[in-house]
Amino acid sequence: MTLKEVQEQIIEEFEIYEDWMDKYNYLIELSQGLPALDHKYKTREYIIDGCQSKVWLYAEMDGNIIRYTADSDAIITKGIVALLIKVMSGRSPEEIKDADLFFIDRIGLKDNLSPTRANGLFSMVKQMKLYALAYFTKQQKL
């Protein structure tokens, strides 16, 4: 699926939830499905700043694509990062660094995106893109 398609799919999925509770239940579910992050990455170095809860994010190159893994001590935040990973993981650094993440707005999580340091979506997206940019620059240099 393209970046666009996977976002549209998520938007569709969220559309069937009329109630905010269903949405959040879905995020809780997603969080439970997120593969565990290797314990050694649960350190200060991998923490994303600007979240009220702790979010650890790790990225590595797998051939030409980036794979993200993450964890959080808060469940909804973990669900959100799982959603981001669903959209972004397994794509090229170039695609990720320029990604237009229109789904965030459309599924009503925009609140979480405001760069107010109150919560982490903004910082998560930023950190994921930073990884992508770093890998992209590295590729260019080779």
């Binding site: 905010w20 509770m21 959040y24 239940n25 809780i28 009220q52 809860s53 702790k54 001590d73 808060a74 469940i75 909804i76 935040t77 919560n119």
Partner: protein, 405 residues
């Protein structure tokens, strides 16, 4: 008895829906809502009476100056200070504390001296002293608290000695709700000749403060936490202290004469009020204090006690809910955690139910560290809150537990 329904009409912000639910505002510790009388005062000043104060000799300026100085008297009366000269308007609690940490620090703190604070301070009563300690190579000492969130009074005695220059402590803890035995603390400190600064940010909105009775040397608070506007705060200081301190900021209004060679500072309280004052804020604050007096401080205290008792017993009934801050003497703040559920999750879900609570460290990280947690959910209740709202919180938490089980 307070007529809560009538009171609620004075706060238009209470009458709104959030995510389709009537708002429950339990974030009063962060900032209070404003009664119409305060909002209208600001509106009237800004649309009709506004004019810069002091030194102007035209009609509007003279009138505004009078209103501003009346507001000063109003504050003096509210905290029962001895003189208007002891009431300094600042931009808030934080600025008031920094004024003292800077000027008192400059004048009286030297290398190796000790500054005493408590384990339950807000960052605003920690960081200024850390900055001072660093600048002067002084030492910051901390009075511990027990598991209920009460100051350990015996330790206080041990921590005070000749080298202790100042004791800065909150009157009421914003994270735990503890009302500290400040009168006793001040008596002990004064026996050792240690002046005391009280951070009253959370005390002022909840009850009676009498600075002469307390005999504190400095008392500070913010307008926005006591039903008044933002950008205005108060620094009370005993005249004898304020006279001894150098000014902090330089600027207009705090000087008597200026030349490039020599500048003579103005008298109290102006010495500490550099730049154009936030006079609409000061007058708005005075109106807020009037409003409180109209309701009656005693009645407010009694009603808020009732809210605290009800909230405490209701929430304690929830399995796995733990309250942090169980001091014998508390204001109406309930800080808690649900076992196994992160405070952020709790806050986010309650928000969707229309309940506004604060989550996190409440700018009091060391308090969290003390309890081995990294945050709580905090309901801070005031006189416009109701028993029914507490029930909504209770039900919300029950529902939430279902979601996360």
């Amino acid at each position: 008895m307070l007529d809560v329904n009538k009171i609620r009409n004075d706060f238009p912000a209470l009458d709104q829906m959030v995510y389709g639910q009537p708002l429950v505002y339990f974030d009063n510790g962060a900032t209070t809502l404003k009664p119409t009388v305060v909002v209208d005062t600001l509106k009237e000043i800004y649309s009709k009476r506004n004019s810069n104060v002091h030194r102007g000799i035209h009609y509007l300026s003279l009138r505004m100056t009078e209103e501003y100085e009346e507001a000063r008297k109003r504050v003096r009366k509210f905290i029962n200070a001895g003189s208007d000269r002891e009431i300094i308007f600042t931009s808030g609690t934080t600025a008031s504390i920094n004024t003292i940490s800077s000027t008192f620090g400059e004048e009286f703190v030297k290398e190796g001296d000790e500054i005493l604070i408590s384990a339950m301070e807000h960052h605003s009563n920690i960081v200024p002293w850390q900055i001072l300690a660093k600048r002067k190579s002084a030492i910051l000492k901390v009075i511990p608290m027990n598991d209920k969130g009460e100051i350990v009074m015996e330790k206080l005695d041990d921590l005070m000695h000749e080298g202790t220059r100042i004791l800065a402590i909150n009157h009421v803890s914003n994270a735990l709700g503890t009302i500290n035995p400040v009168k006793e603390i001040i008596q002990k400190a004064h026996k050792e000749n240690i002046p005391v600064l009280l951070d009253g940010a959370q005390a002022i909105p909840h009850g009676i403060v009498d600075v002469q009775d307390l005999d504190c040397d400095f008392y500070v608070f913010s307008g926005h936490k006591v039903y008044g506007p933002n950008g205005i705060g108060v620094l009370y200081g005993k005249e004898e202290w304020l006279e001894k301190l150098p000014p902090w900021q330089g600027g207009g209004d705090m000087v008597e004469k200026v030349s490039f060679e020599k500048t003579i500072y103005a008298d109290l309280p102006f010495k500490f009020e550099a730049g154009t004052a936030n006079y609409p804020g000061a007058v708005g604050l005075a109106k807020a204090l009037d409003y409180i007096d109209t309701l009656g401080k005693d009645r407010i205290t009694a009603y808020e006690k009732e809210l605290l008792n009800y909230a405490t017993s209701r929430l304690s009934g929830i399995d796995g809910l733990k309250i942090f801050g169980t001091a014998a003497n508390k204001i109406s703040i309930v800080s808690f955690l649900l076992e196994g559920i992160h405070q952020e999750d709790t806050g986010m879900i309650l928000d969707k139910m229309g309940l506004a609570l604060r989550t996190g460290t409440h700018c009091a990280e060391p308090v969290m560290t003390r309890f081995g947690i990294d945050g709580t959910v905090r309901a801070s209740l005031v006189f416009y809150n109701t028993i029914e709202e507490i029930d909504r919180l209770y039900e919300g938490l029950i529902k939430l537990k279902q979601m996360f089980k």
